[in-house]
Point group: D3
Chain length 287, copies 6
Amino acid sequence: MSELSISWWRQLEEIIDRALDEDLCLGDATTEALIPPQLQGRASFLVKAEGVLAGMGVAAAVFRRLDPSLKVDAFMPDGARVKPGDVVGSVSGAVASILSVERTALNFLQRLSGIATQTALFVEAVAGTRARIVDTRKTAPGLRLLDKYAVRMGGGHNHRFNLGDGILIKDNHLAAMRRTGVGLGEAVRRARSRVRHSIKIQVEVTSPEQVLEAVEAGADAILLDNMSVDDMRRAVGLGGGRALLEASGGINLQTVRAAAETGVDLISAGSLTHSVKALDISLELEV
Amino acid sequence: MSELSISWWRQLEEIIDRALDEDLCLGDATTEALIPPQLQGRASFLVKAEGVLAGMGVAAAVFRRLDPSLKVDAFMPDGARVKPGDVVGSVSGAVASILSVERTALNFLQRLSGIATQTALFVEAVAGTRARIVDTRKTAPGLRLLDKYAVRMGGGHNHRFNLGDGILIKDNHLAAMRRTGVGLGEAVRRARSRVRHSIKIQVEVTSPEQVLEAVEAGADAILLDNMSVDDMRRAVGLGGGRALLEASGGINLQTVRAAAETGVDLISAGSLTHSVKALDISLELEV
Amino acid sequence: MSELSISWWRQLEEIIDRALDEDLCLGDATTEALIPPQLQGRASFLVKAEGVLAGMGVAAAVFRRLDPSLKVDAFMPDGARVKPGDVVGSVSGAVASILSVERTALNFLQRLSGIATQTALFVEAVAGTRARIVDTRKTAPGLRLLDKYAVRMGGGHNHRFNLGDGILIKDNHLAAMRRTGVGLGEAVRRARSRVRHSIKIQVEVTSPEQVLEAVEAGADAILLDNMSVDDMRRAVGLGGGRALLEASGGINLQTVRAAAETGVDLISAGSLTHSVKALDISLELEV
Amino acid sequence: MSELSISWWRQLEEIIDRALDEDLCLGDATTEALIPPQLQGRASFLVKAEGVLAGMGVAAAVFRRLDPSLKVDAFMPDGARVKPGDVVGSVSGAVASILSVERTALNFLQRLSGIATQTALFVEAVAGTRARIVDTRKTAPGLRLLDKYAVRMGGGHNHRFNLGDGILIKDNHLAAMRRTGVGLGEAVRRARSRVRHSIKIQVEVTSPEQVLEAVEAGADAILLDNMSVDDMRRAVGLGGGRALLEASGGINLQTVRAAAETGVDLISAGSLTHSVKALDISLELEV
Amino acid sequence: MSELSISWWRQLEEIIDRALDEDLCLGDATTEALIPPQLQGRASFLVKAEGVLAGMGVAAAVFRRLDPSLKVDAFMPDGARVKPGDVVGSVSGAVASILSVERTALNFLQRLSGIATQTALFVEAVAGTRARIVDTRKTAPGLRLLDKYAVRMGGGHNHRFNLGDGILIKDNHLAAMRRTGVGLGEAVRRARSRVRHSIKIQVEVTSPEQVLEAVEAGADAILLDNMSVDDMRRAVGLGGGRALLEASGGINLQTVRAAAETGVDLISAGSLTHSVKALDISLELEV
Amino acid sequence: MSELSISWWRQLEEIIDRALDEDLCLGDATTEALIPPQLQGRASFLVKAEGVLAGMGVAAAVFRRLDPSLKVDAFMPDGARVKPGDVVGSVSGAVASILSVERTALNFLQRLSGIATQTALFVEAVAGTRARIVDTRKTAPGLRLLDKYAVRMGGGHNHRFNLGDGILIKDNHLAAMRRTGVGLGEAVRRARSRVRHSIKIQVEVTSPEQVLEAVEAGADAILLDNMSVDDMRRAVGLGGGRALLEASGGINLQTVRAAAETGVDLISAGSLTHSVKALDISLELEV
């Protein structure tokens, strides 16, 4: 099920509307002045770099949101590997409409494909280990839904969507609680007793020893913050199988394999979404 | 005037609201379960990499949008150069509020500072030439206002904000018009006669020779698309002083200096906003 | 922490705005025609039936949303037991403002107190057992946040807030999957592998035997649908301690104790929010 | 004309959108994980209690708002009497869409049918008298349009929709005016001279004698607040035929007949909408 | 009570927000480039034509909506007669803010004062008669609330605010009903039996004879469409005192007195709001 | 290209929605009570005065926004000259829908045609000169997009759409800058260096001599404020051909020809949009 499900499209439409309004709030002065409304044409999405495609369905929706009479075809599904020269889709209909939406559609497609591409590199790097690559909440403001979708298209998994659909007791929470005399284990127990039963309790630890404390307090998952590979391995030895273990903090393409080989269940990387390199894709009008 | 003027804040508030809603639509389960509402504290913005700061005012607004009783101080203005270890601001008040907003505020601050940092590198690279570094419309959907603000903080200038506040006749427009027998010069003349007098006419050319045609048709500015340095120099010789000349297409930090030395007025780079590397800044809760 | 946390107030403001707009979209013709704007006064919230209070903070917010100069005092906290004759709060300021908001504020307060009152009866009925009383998604459209808040004020706990913050594989899901040859255990396993690690997997079963299948497939929680007390007891024997067990379906004040004594962890009742009896509270203007 | 007219649907769409967003803001995790998007099916609305149907058109709109390709058929019109076992409609199309909307659609249908059912009991109780059963503004915040529609489907009539489309001078208005030396009659006269001519003037009285004062001041309608049956009868003798008389305050199914037999024109009951018992209707997926 | 009551301000804020967004969606490029943010100043509202003031409170709200630190003083209340040279108010604070809002604030003030001025001429023309001058629904789209407020400030009264707060059976309704065999009297009776009791029934007639039919069917008010003065007089003779009579259709300042002297209760004129001449008021910055 | 382009329709839909909500927020009580929903019919747009048509496409969109099943035909394009008796379009479908939208649609059509009609008179008055008639920002709040569209339909041209898509340094800006010691020429130079290169710099002058100063500072356009015809002629002599010259201030149909004959490029008139006389057009239901 590689595409956004129907229940997500309501949110997506709002994101698309904002993007179109941002670019077209004063109309498209150039196109209005020069392009006859009745002129029909066709344009192709041309890939110019290697990567993983994500956002063709979104790009199609952007075109059709402005002009429902446009016809958009995707030749490759989201999640597909692409290389320079690939034509991954086309849009046909009123040339004026195509030109007015081109930039907005590409802005989505290039960003999402960039995220999927980078995620796929992480996923490949850990191939054969038990580790899932997961994202963070370090997404572009207003685009979390899509940024996280692109991570899935690159083969990654999602972490929490927001502050309400999971418990993650972080260092700053623990620091604040220590001031009131509450330690890690007690924090986990309080969370367990107070939050709804449908969500899991995760807690951040900085040493392998804390893993035991967390597990015994009933944590469902544990975030190993900025640990050395050795410490991760010890943490796995102490808590593996009793709670999900997530390696986090400064992990990059060079270090991710070693982390994965420690036996952690999850590896999260903020850079997947906060430092995105757009995948080069252009729209070529056929003449 | 380094900060966003008051007339932009209405747009900014909407952007902030969306970001907060995205993260807090189901509340902050962890903080609600664990942090006493009355607990007061203070946190510092700590820079961990070299760069140019942008977005402190925005981050402050994010905190205060959720909880107006928070006090946010910026110790350095947007546009300032920062280095690892710099504490650029602080927020104090209810710890629960600080923790609920932390991630959202940092997502803005890190992205904007990343843009400003990259822009500043381009600006430095062309120091002493007449060239202005300008951005494009290749911004993150929904964040154009802020992405372009960050470019200014890095010493760059803005190009069009949207498709309605400037005329830019691009290759795809010209291709479409050719099918109806209209050439570059006629396109410029038509735009001139049809659009309101308050905005300028810019046209994209691919050869130095077209610069002359564009100038004679009355273009106010000309985009030199993917030209070699030699061609840029010839274009400057033909059109310089009669229209603004903008170098565009695949220009990076390695090539920007040579482009600037041809005498062009403007150099645009999509990567300033479409391929952003977040600047590493964290929030440290004091205990 | 009996009140809505600050991160929920953004959602609450929208709910309040809609309610005020619904009643005041054409102004308040009576008050505008008759009450001098400068007339000051005070009104008291008078309880006329026994119950549990919920919504004083919301009612206060409603008044202050229309007229921030109104002063609202709550004399009793949400969650407090009240009886006829109790004065639980007051509002003072412009009489015109008080009269224009009175009905809207009471509509919130009476509904929420009604929910809390009914919930408290269920909670008392199971006192001494391990069972938590939990709500459902059978809330008034648009008011889920508040309906669920009122359940907490009555001593109950919340179940999922929406279809995205927990997995509950219900009879209709299982029926649909059976058509593709997938059984209960496989359904649980698929959910586990596909959803983010931060949320739990719950599955609905109709016989004690299925409890074992669910537990073995790795379900975190199991909903016992419309089981007899005997079957619930067997289910607890088979799955208790290995997964959370929730009794559900047609449980009322008469039957809830027996269900709780079987040892289930959770008992859910849709009637808490879909069949609410408003608690009688009025606003008395002092003259 | 039993259904909501086209001019109301704009408001209804907003209500539906809020309800869908409330439940689907994070998608439908269970359905996305388990139900193949292409799986087609059919589900029936099954009534499980006696009552009056209301909201089938609304429920249909909810399904089609998420997925316009769903086909929804109503087998019985709103306002029809239903009994356990009745199948009142069906929905067919993508099973995933049906399951994602099921709860939201039923929340509307059950509440509205509950209101219609209760209203019908009041209407039957006064059969043969001149009294109309009318609702109040004691509706669930945000749902007034629909709550009042359901009252009509149960055979009742609507009172004011909001504070701007009718004048009702209540006890609190009169109390406030007395402090400035203005009595009931003068209040009516002031309202008459100040408000637009298209709306009627109604005033609340507590004794039969005030009915005369109100009529003489030109009141179009009079609310008899919490009067005994004897007082109502005297009120009818004094003011009947000269103004519409409305009995109000604590009237229930036991007392409504006696009130109606006094000859009043209208009887209002807040409980119709503030204390709703959902009508039990379920959606059965066919397999 | 000459100002907009507090219950209308919610609607007004939306109108103001739209107007500000319309002018400031891309910021104020001139002011941002040239005016130092810290520069303080003061500007005066200078009247340049004779008329009636309306909208000072609105203009003040516009200024303060952009910049709450601006201080706005009204020297004359809405409804006051003004003449060239009158200074009716001032605004002081940041010059940049004043300049960014100036045009938007004046657009409101000039339009509303124009409406009030024209209305006052009609009101004066009928002085001494029983006729009220009333407006219509022929207002500028989106500005009805304010257009109707201005009519009141000019001494006029309001007709219906929208299609839901009063019944007006117009020629087109009657024409449509005739096709189904329903006449004027029956139309009135149907309306009476079907609509809520809080609103009045008005019907349009084209001959004095129909007045009798309408009165006998129970119409509360009657619109005399495009009648000659003689026919109006006959209509008053037939229906005066039994229903409100409203003269309507092509009545202007030259003809309004004669219409009023026939004894009608109301005279409506669409031109009050559909053909507005802005009152000349400027903002003078003091230097 | 006489109609609103597709990129403007997003804005237009919002304007239409507001207008429909304004009139139909409580439904259409008269139509709902009296007109059978299934009754079909047809109505014609009948012109009753001489003028220029504008807004037929908008009116059609209004009808179809409420009821997409309505069929609307325009017999004449926007911009066409019309005279009494012309039938310019028709709408057919459900009579109830037609009657519910009639007034809202006409409010748009009458205003826009009024603006186009008045603009055309100015345009004719300057026929044969080089002067373009341009509008101002003195539009009805919330309707700028449409007001300016109507100006184009009348043969006029648009000035700035808002404060962000052009630079116009006005008297108040210059006055403020003088206080900080900055003169006209320096103001122009500062604007040039600070604003994006895609928009032009215009400055307001009050004497012919300042025209030279402005031109030398690099102004692209100059607004001649309230100049006598002699001064305009001198201004043209000094600055014509080097910058666009715009006559502005109190120019009416009597004086516009003389202004145009001085050789100015542009003549602006606020009255085109701030003092509109609706063109009389009605909707006649066929029976």
